[in-house]
């Protein structure tokens, strides 16, 4: 699946890639509603985005629009699926088998669109061997490198635990700290202009 790419992929910002996911959601909704063509301006108005930014983000990967007309909804959706690599199956390993990891390992959003959670690990010895609702069995986090080695095909690690995982050069590691979102809200509530006392 080759793309006409105007600049090397390494120089494309994560912010752009994250927005492509957002655009994909928007197009899926539009397609569901039966829309066939949309301009960057309409898309921006509808979903509170910036039209120039949409065009610029897309332009890194090709010329998907028709001047004077706009974008074909279905075609653009397919392009985004291909750009994000969502047409391939993705085997993902979950680190953390607490409430959160367990829920995520059988969360529909994480087991659709080509993603499949193939292992769930934890550092707590008491959790080892426990079966989680999705059917997986909790394994030890100390075996991470070993498990990655054994299960040829594990290529990405998504870490929701606050601990800093030691990186493995051949596996893409992504840390997510959900508590940061709560603390950000707390900051705003503490410092922002007083909320009306509804």
């Amino acid at each position: 699946m080759a793309f006409k790419r105007y600049i090397p992929v390494e120089s494309i910002s994560e912010l752009t890639i994250n927005r492509l996911s957002v655009y994909l959601r928007c197009l899926q909704q539009l397609e569901h509603e039966g829309g066939t063509t949309i301009s960057s301006q309409e898309l921006a108005d509808r979903f509170h985005l910036n039209s120039a930014q949409i065009r610029k983000d897309l332009a890194y990967f090709g010329e998907f629009g028709i001047r004077g007309v706009g974008y074909n909804v279905t075609q653009l959706r397919e392009h985004l699926v291909n750009i994000l690599g969502l047409h391939e199956e993705r085997r993902v390993l979950m680190v953390g088998a607490g409430n959160l990891g367990t829920a995520l390992s059988h969360y529909s959003g994480f087991n659709t669109g080509g993603f499949r959670i193939v292992a769930i690990l934890d550092s707590d010895p008491h959790k080892l061997g426990k079966r989680v609702p999705g059917g997986l069995t909790v394994e030890s986090v100390v075996d991470l490198a070993q498990i990655v080695k054994e299960r040829n095909g594990v290529q990405a690690v998504l870490n929701f635990a606050p601990a800093q995982l030691k990186g493995h050069p051949e596996v893409k590691l992504k840390n997510v700290d959900l508590k940061i979102n709560l603390e950000l809200l707390s900051f705003f509530l503490t410092h922002a202009a007083r909320m009306a006392s509804v």
Copy 2:
């Protein structure tokens, strides 16, 4: 809890606030290890941060360091707790009672440090009235404005559902899309230099 603030709080970036949360985690760990004083340089080396950025982020809120010495670990941790407003109790309303929302509503990270989930809502009529493990009962998302009105004290909404919630001017709304993280990983696996086939 008044802070010496050099610039208005509205002009401080969310990126800075998110990093304050990260610094807080680092200091908690250092304190746990028995550290008493640390320089921005040591902190940066230890946790892969930038020392100038640490100093600049902190400087928005006051002069917490001692020139020629560094920062007192415990004092700085306390300052961060106060800046982020984590010394006050925070009542939070959860939107989405699927696997994810249910897990998060009794996730320890979300029910510690002053946070308390006080309600869980969903748009699916089949889930209404269901009790979730934390002891809450699922309510309808159409009653959001009503619930906020009734439960004087609800001040923040954290949305993990892909749907766009209609904003309520008096309540701080924060959207989080976890799937974006997976799609970002997928993008890298598709486009980055080939991973070695371990």
